[in-house]
């Protein structure tokens, strides 16, 4: 919405050109080997590790002055950390920012894929806390790298099977593991499994894990399959409601507690998507006539 001059005290998009070049090399390698975690010399950023430093470095390496940047956290543009990261790039890169998915060229996200289908030419940058899908089965990096190299994913299937044996269902609701182009098992970052089908996209998807020093990618139109069993197929689930503001029955919903008696409402987690629908005249159960 607003383009401004970037702070001259810093290089464009904060990082120096050498560092950006190093990150771009890692990105190209990641795109060449979909789903493979490329080690990169992650830098210390002016925001804490675990707060999107990987995504910020990837975005910084991809940004050009002509880009229009959108930043979301939990699907929303106005959550505090999304505001903070957007401000960071407004200040250090001076790029135009937007809240509209369709207007953006780069979207940095935490925990969601936007509802509106992404298109060719767009880049979706994910913030990743733990890039290794096998980490909670095997804590050692030296071991998990070997397992990936040998395509030894039996342990993961055993875990999913044990879930079914104990609970009757796979008890992973977010960061649900996927297999990319039939080769690497990949952590899609903590997006709800509802979003998994949209990992097959026309856009470039880049994943940055700053603290863990890893970058990986899913190029456009790459096959991404959520792990499952024939008799327990993967199911993308959401709350069994419609959005109370825009009435949408197919979007991912947040549950909001609205009164002391535990009353609830359900609203789209993607705020831009929800506002767009309301602008088109859609109404939900709790939106008054003036809600748009």
């Amino acid at each position: 919405m607003t383009a401004m001059q970037h702070d001259p005290a810093y290089n464009f998009a904060y990082l120096d050109e050498q560092t950006k070049r190093m990150i771009r090399r890692a990105l190209l390698k990641a795109l060449a080997i979909p789903g493979y975690q490329v080690p990169f010399a992650s830098r210390e950023m002016p925001m804490p590790y675990g707060w999107g430093t990987g995504g910020v470095q990837v975005t910084a390496a991809c940004l050009t002055p002509e880009d229009r940047l959108k930043v979301i956290d939990q699907g929303a543009d106005d959550t505090t950390n999304a505001v903070s990261i957007r401000k960071f790039f407004e200040r250090t890169a001076g790029v135009e920012t937007t809240e509209h998915t369709t207007d953006s060229t780069i979207i940095q996200t935490r925990h969601r894929i936007p509802e509106a289908p992404l298109t060719e030419g767009q880049i979706l940058v994910y913030q990743v806390p733990i890039p290794e899908p096998l980490r909670f089965l095997e804590p050692r990096e030296t071991e998990t790298r070997k397992m990936h190299a040998l395509e030894e994913y039996g342990l993961m299937y055993v875990k999913l099977y044990e879930d079914i044996a104990h609970n009757g269902a796979i008890s992973t609701a977010y960061a649900y593991p996927v297999k990319v182009e039939g080769r690497y098992v990949m952590d899609p970052s903590p997006i709800p499994k509802f979003d998994n089908p949209r990992l097959e996209s026309a856009a470039i998807q880049l994943f940055g894990a700053g603290r863990e020093q890893r970058i990986y990618a899913v190029p456009p139109y790459t096959q991404v399959v959520s792990l499952d069993f024939e008799d327990h197929p993967f199911e993308a689930s959401k709350a069994d409601h419609d959005c109370d503001l825009c009435g949408c029955g197919t979007s991912y919903l947040d549950e909001v507690i609205v009164d002391d008696a535990g009353g609830r409402m359900f609203v789209c987690s993607d705020t831009d998507f929800c506002a767009g629908r309301r602008a088109e005249g859609h109404r939900g159960r709790l939106s008054g006539e003036d809600a748009a």
Partner: protein, 361 residues
């Protein structure tokens, strides 16, 4: 009626304004100057420089002031600033043998050439609150002695001459740089030492302490501990020779550790090494103990499964900036993932309740 986190931007601005006010504290109390912090909180400044991996007492003092005395926050500020600095070149390896020592002690020999010099240490103070300091401390002055000889010999070299201590393998290889390359396991010793010297003092201390209590015991003695200034030299290509570009204060600790010998080596002493920016001796000693514990493989020792022997465990968790960031990120909104868990738990409970009902009927 819909009250989700709107207005994040205004809330952030307001929080920052309040933070600035709290940082200043009671306005009737004079404001701290950076010089005051640098001169009178110098051990805090040293820790920030050591773990921030940037030797600049003025910037460290600024960081401490800005961080309201939260040293990990101050270290974080220094690290983030460090990222923006261009890498102009590399210094020569500093020569700690030529250190101008303020303090130099050995626990393994009663006396040794160069002498035992206590220096400005807390070691033999009685930890009684000095209420006089609560009033005016005044400007105490200490007697001055003649400076030590310019080259103080290393204690461990005396042992080395007799072949009683394991010789360190010399290497002309350029050591890896953990700030420019991603961490790789297994790491070599140079990389381990880099990680330890910037590692969290509390973490390294705890790891070292665990070896003393039996989790990978390695019988350390402080062979030598020295603190003082060393010159930093750099070769300037245009000149073709080395010039001194400044001076840093370092704490160096060499431990002498027992070693029972192995199939290939006769019994002899082994070494652990710690080197840290500033006067930071707790950290340097702890670093030497952890370094020694991590050398089990190279020295042909048994891995007893102690945490301090586990390179990946120690190195992956020693950095307080990584640790605090990831720990505190759980304050960020997680309602999308939480929502997906909610759905799952509700669904599974429904299934379980159904099954229990069936079983009861």
């Amino acid at each position: 009626m819909y009250v989700a986190v709107k207005g994040g931007e205004r809330a952030i601005d307001a929080a920052h304004a309040w933070l600035a006010e709290e940082r200043r504290g009671d306005a009737s109390v004079p404001e701290l100057s950076l010089a005051q912090i640098r001169e009178q909180m110098s051990l805090a400044v040293n820790r920030v420089m050591a773990e921030g991996s940037l030797y600049d007492p003025d910037l460290a003092a600024l960081a401490i002031k800005q961080a309201r005395g939260d040293l990990i926050e101050a270290i974080f500020l220094i690290r983030a600033y460090r990222t923006t600095l261009p890498r102009i070149g590399h210094s020569r390896a500093v020569d700690t043998g030529a250190m101008r020592c303020d303090r130099r002690i050995s626990a393994t020999f009663k006396d040794a050439p160069g002498g035992q010099v206590l220096g400005p240490t807390f070691d033999y103070t009685h930890r009684l609150l000095d209420f006089k300091l609560a009033a005016e401390g005044g400007t105490p002055s200490a007697r001055e002695a003649e400076p030590l000889a310019p080259e103080v010999p290393r204690i461990t070299e005396f042992l080395n001459r007799d072949g009683l201590i394991q010789d360190e393998v010399r290497s002309e290889d350029t050591p890896p740089d953990m700030t420019r390359q991603p961490m790789e396991y297994p790491a070599n010793r140079a990389l381990r030492l880099q990680a330890l010297t910037r590692g969290d003092e509390g973490f390294v201390l705890g790891m070292a302490y665990s070896t003393q209590r039996g989790y990978g015991r390695n019988h350390p003695f402080v062979g030598e501990l020295r603190i003082g200034a060393v010159e930093v030299e750099m070769e300037i290509p245009e000149l073709g020779f080395d010039i001194c570009i400044g001076e840093v204060t370092l704490t160096e600790c060499e431990t002498v550790n027992q070693f029972m010998g192995s199939k290939t080596e006769p019994p002899q002493f082994t070494r652990g090494y710690g080197l840290v920016f500033g006067q930071t001796e707790r950290k340097a000693i702890a670093m030497a103990l952890v370094d020694r514990a991590l050398r089990w493989e190279e020295l042909g020792e048994e891995n007893v499964g102690a945490p301090a022997q586990d390179e990946e465990f120690v190195l992956a968790h020693s950095d307080n900036i990584q640790a605090t960031g990831f720990l505190e990120h759980i304050k960020l909104p997680h309602y999308v993932d939480f929502q997906s868990e909610l759905e799952l738990v509700r669904k599974m409970r429904k299934g379980a309740e159904g099954a229990m009902k069936e079983a009861a009927e």
